[in-house]
Symmetry: D3
Subunit: 293 residues, 6 copies
């Protein structure tokens, strides 16, 4: 169950309205790596988890915080939109470049659809979607997804910080940046703990039977481009992070196979084949098949 | 530039057709973590990269390989569909449970739209989309995204391995599993190399000025759920992976702020407010505004 | 802020696993009218609201409950999937129609992507999306949207009730049906209260200046189909619900206007016009324009 | 069948082109609550209806009118785009703020894709989609959906009215606002008629057997937020609109249940569990299972 | 304006219900090349057209017919669903393979969402979307799009014909196949007429000034794969269809250019560059910039 | 397999950055008819093809070139974004209309998400999606789709040419325009070759048995709009392009059928019918059914 409290985790009030910035801030609310994504991702990981205890408490404990971050951003966006222009005509645009710039830069659905309110969309107006989240049940994979989400989110928050000089907005971003710092650290630490406890190992999934893997190519760097510098990296020689092998470097593939011949599905799919030609000679069974049906 | 060679990196031929499995295999071709995703992700990372040399050669070198993996899977799927049923009627279903099961389990667009061919969709028929990929320009974040993609992809390939006993399909999966092993190891190694070389550090982005972050909460675990076990993890005490702090554990938020008052946008947005009531007394300017317009 | 409690509002455990039903239940979790939709809809209405007090408390109070309903359904789905088949091969299908039916009827991404877990998608695997929700700021309109959402949701829950005889699933549905009963009643009551208090009236928005509306057609039923029976309804004569007019019935439009002539945009859009012909005679300025550029 | 007549229901010609406004007007053509949505919604309700007569004639009669509204808006948009700028370069932008504002504010696909023509998208360029419409077969639910659609649409048209002073555009909007007034009234009246005739009652669906509902909570207001004012509303005490009960107010849930234990699906899903640890001691059957396969 | 008549263009009644086939038929109703697509495509081409007369009358004349085809298919689908199973439980599945196959093969949203009604989706349940249609304003391009749509649609209808032996369904498909025959012929004829009248020529758009095109490569076949047989086609030598050139064949590109150096955007985007290293030496301006801000 | 070479097919460097134009150029990279679409479309046509030789070599040979075009555009876009503004505040907007115009006109995700890099989206920020491509297996249909794609793409490139005066961008577009000229010609020539060789004929698919088609209407122009000029076209009389018939012109439909009666599905779908009324008289079995369950 979730309980709502009509307080925010941090002050979320801009110095002054700014409809253009409101649009930009939608990215960290409803974008691929916005707060809705992490809130839903951690919640689904909790609901799908296969063991009780500290890992499940961890995803639940943070997931609920992230729903509160969605709220802080939505509240901020509504305030940034409070003076959003509405009765603008082309004449106004012609005489006032600032107004024109606001019309051009704002999310027009903020005005037309939401009446100066926040929306569950990204900064280009694409609706948030369930395909942004990751919950596979394998915690080493999923916590890596989480670490990435927090990294991408913090990069975006940092960029947004430099796109405004509103001290109210910057205060909120400085708080979110700090929480992203925490959450990056925490997922990276949890990944280590999973490995230390022997719950999961590299490569993911580690208990897939190695003999079923085509191990000849498990540690080969195969260069399918013509740049030579990748051979200089530690991914091209030396021990592998999973502790099971040694990297080797190869220019191009080490295995090849001929392409299988084209498929010949049922003639009633009406795909193009060279059978029609052949069939004229053999008074073909395909036409018969069609004729009979 | 890309050059195509009419050979495959590995044998990709099933023992026998299986239209139901063809649908399942679409997941690792056109799903969120399928081969189209990694091919496009690495390519865009290359095109957007801000430095020449080994890291760019790395994403180009592997990206091109992944396009070839798309090809192997598409070729396999077309062959699995070669005998896909078409002329099925309800009578046939009634008398033959196997045929019924195929109709139920296959992707019907494989038949109706593609004429027994592969499609750029996932195993539920959702079209592949550009929002699956990640390319932020920050390599520590992006390589973490890449490591996650290879982990999720390998988990899915492992599950698919157990869903068939076709030795041709299993051979292809065992090859892809091996390459996923390599790519997981390589991205994890590249992440370390970025840090060793001082190119990037934790937290991402590491050169955001720390004094602009609300550092009081940068290393606090704030528990917004009522499970207590998260306090047992190494993410709740001890040094943080970024080397800059010490984790502390807190039950609930350490900061709070009152909700800002509701916004009062222009009356011509026709949002519901209590102004109409008030206005009756003050012979209101809002109605005047509407009247004048 | 949201706080999570590791308890459910109601028992959510099936008698036995049923992977096919798990897919169906996704509709009321992640479909157009599923619990994610109402949870997010009420939350955004709260964040965008323009007045404090009982209406805002109402949307917050129920919104948080709905997030808990998402949790009950996700938990139920994970349990329904607990024995989801995985190692199925075509041979198994042939000999066991029940297994075949499960493969055919289940959401294959439940297995391949989520590892026997719930997903933020509908019963056809379409990801939940932000465009499902409604938050316009006009409470009479939005509460009508809410009433509709609860009605559609209750119809779907009722249908799902008849699709299983698992008493654990039915218990959960009987609880959700009861809450939908409450929420329908409550939104309908809140609509009346808005009108009684003079906050909003019909038609929505009621304070749009009536003289700016083309009132001649404001209460005309215009029949654009050839069925005559619509004239028998109380929407074709008598007083209108907004109290401002009388319905009248008309066969077809009461106003018409000629189509405006085709547009003639800049020739450099390369749209097809009859200008090229004309221009050969007048040694046209359009080609000149292109030539100069 | 549908027959087209090359006339419009109302004059649809702007005073002068305005590419920025053309983009905004797309919302009521191809947005969630635009004319395509209502046209398709009413048509599908007609095709899916389970009874002949006045209700079916009603949805057909209005649905066809709405297709004509799509046409009026598309025609208007094409004319607003007639002088859409095309040959703009950065120099022009620098010297002419008005031109810059147009570039910034217009839908660039209007120019690049449609060659100064209308498109089936909303004001942010999101394509119209089938998931916007509602047709459940239950007319009390569906007519409530219709009333909501007309309300949201009229709110948007009213906002758009204030965003232009072009008298041609305002004339068209004043006509559409009047028709929305009619359609709101009519759906609300039809809802009453359904109830008066005993076709449907509240709650929807009313013929679901009440004894199968968990009636203890059917009329309880459960407050999951900490605002107290919702208790003041008539949804917290007094008779319910469906006539079957009395509202009661409760702070928080009146029922709770423990969370079920985590699920333990097949080990070959490779989800993280604590089994690996246990298994080291018991020389586990899971590894055996994998080994045998 | 559109007027609806409660008659169909052709008989649309199945011999008997078939919920599995109802799902398949959704493809030609709401798929990429279904009837909604052609109806909307021709309508938008009419609204966006830049010349009056026969071409505009043509797209309007056929567009309206296609809306009627949507209706015939929706009507058919509703009837095919009339006996759609609903009260199925796992026991029923186990004992009756036919029922199991129906559950597996049908669109579950037909039951849960639409209550045994048609939906604006394709055969995999993907909602129809506005991005399926094409209306560029250039009629030679758009009529080619139309010819393709009718071809793809007829291929799908032909495949669907073989997937049923219901004579009622087959009758409807035989009618739609005939109309697709007509419409293919007509668009191909209209393309010729456009060229005969000098309205448009090849290549599209033909009035783009040829001197602005890099004509060296305008008629070169450049082979980027290693198959040699494409050189045998008439697209590799001989005159070109546009009458302006001669095809030539080349193995690989005839032009190349070095890749431009990586971009170096503002440091505050936090992309990874080698500047940090350099900067340690030069006490860098980037850090200064950040520090000052 | 695909091999990447770190060279471009043509110079792709702008004279100077232009973030607004970068957004526009996304259309031909990631839009419906952008380079990703043709690259993927030709690749899937190759993988799904049912015959070896020149046609398959053709789609592979060009498909690989198109992936290189994606690369040229992505590289160009990254350079156009190199000086994309980031630290803009509202004050800057007010004093500098050019900066304001850039903010308004650029794709804000270019900055926030990609850090001044290209993205797999169109010019409105809609992600590229798999549903843009066509691969049916019928080559006459698919090559028509290809001809259309090259036509639409060339129209867009021509429009984009006029939207900039940057000579570097124009050079790249002049190259792409030339390749589109080639590819249009080649697909049109390949269509003729298919017909000359007897591989495929009109109408598509030509080997569907003609006696199964309702041939009475196969060559009838049926005018469902009231414009009379379509009768003047060569699609209304004279021989048909497929050589099998003669066009005839008809005002309206030549066939009609009554609408089938409304469907009556299972009462447990809770659709509205007139049964409830009837049932009161006959003490109805439907309620019984519900009661028993």
């Amino acid at each position: 169950m979730f309980f709502h409290k009509q307080e925010l985790q941090f002050k979320s009030t801009p110095d002054k309205p700014d409809a253009v910035y409101a649009r930009k801030l939608q990215e960290v609310l409803g974008g691929q790596y916005g707060e809705i994504s992490v809130a839903m991702q951690y919640a689904f990981q909790g609901w799908n988890m296969h063991l009780p205890g500290k890992y499940r408490d961890l995803v639940f404990g943070i997931g609920a915080e992230e729903f509160g971050h969605v709220e802080m951003l939505a509240t901020m966006i509504a305030q940034l939109l409070e003076k959003a222009p509405l009765g603008i005509t082309e004449d106004a645009v012609q005489s006032d470049p600032t107004v024109a710039a606001i019309i051009g830069g704002m999310d027009v659905q903020h005005a037309i659809v939401a009446g100066a309110g926040a929306r569950p969309v990204d900064s280009n107006g694409n609706p948030w979607q369930g395909s942004y989240i990751t919950s596979s049940g394998n915690l080493l994979a999923d916590f890596t997804a989480n670490a990435n989400a927090e990294m991408q989110g913090r990069v975006q928050a940092a960029r947004l910080y430099h796109m405004t000089d509103d001290s109210g907005v910057r205060d909120l971003l400085s708080f979110l940046l700090a929480r992203d710092t925490m959450h990056q650290n925490q997922w990276l630490r949890a990944i280590e703990e999973l490995k230390e406890e022997g719950m999961e190992k590299l490569p993911v999934p580690s208990n897939f039977p190695q003999k079923k893997e085509f191990t000849e190519v498990s540690y080969q760097y195969l260069n399918f481009s013509n740049g030579k510098h990748a051979s200089e990296g530690s991914w091209a020689s030396g021990p592998t992070p999973d502790g099971n092998g040694e990297f080797t470097y190869h220019d191009g593939p080490t295995t090849t196979a001929p392409m299988p011949p084209p498929t010949r599905p049922d003639a009633r799919y009406y795909g193009t084949t060279d059978l029609p030609n052949t069939m004229e000679k053999i008074a073909g069974s395909v036409q018969d098949k069609l004729r009979r049906e």
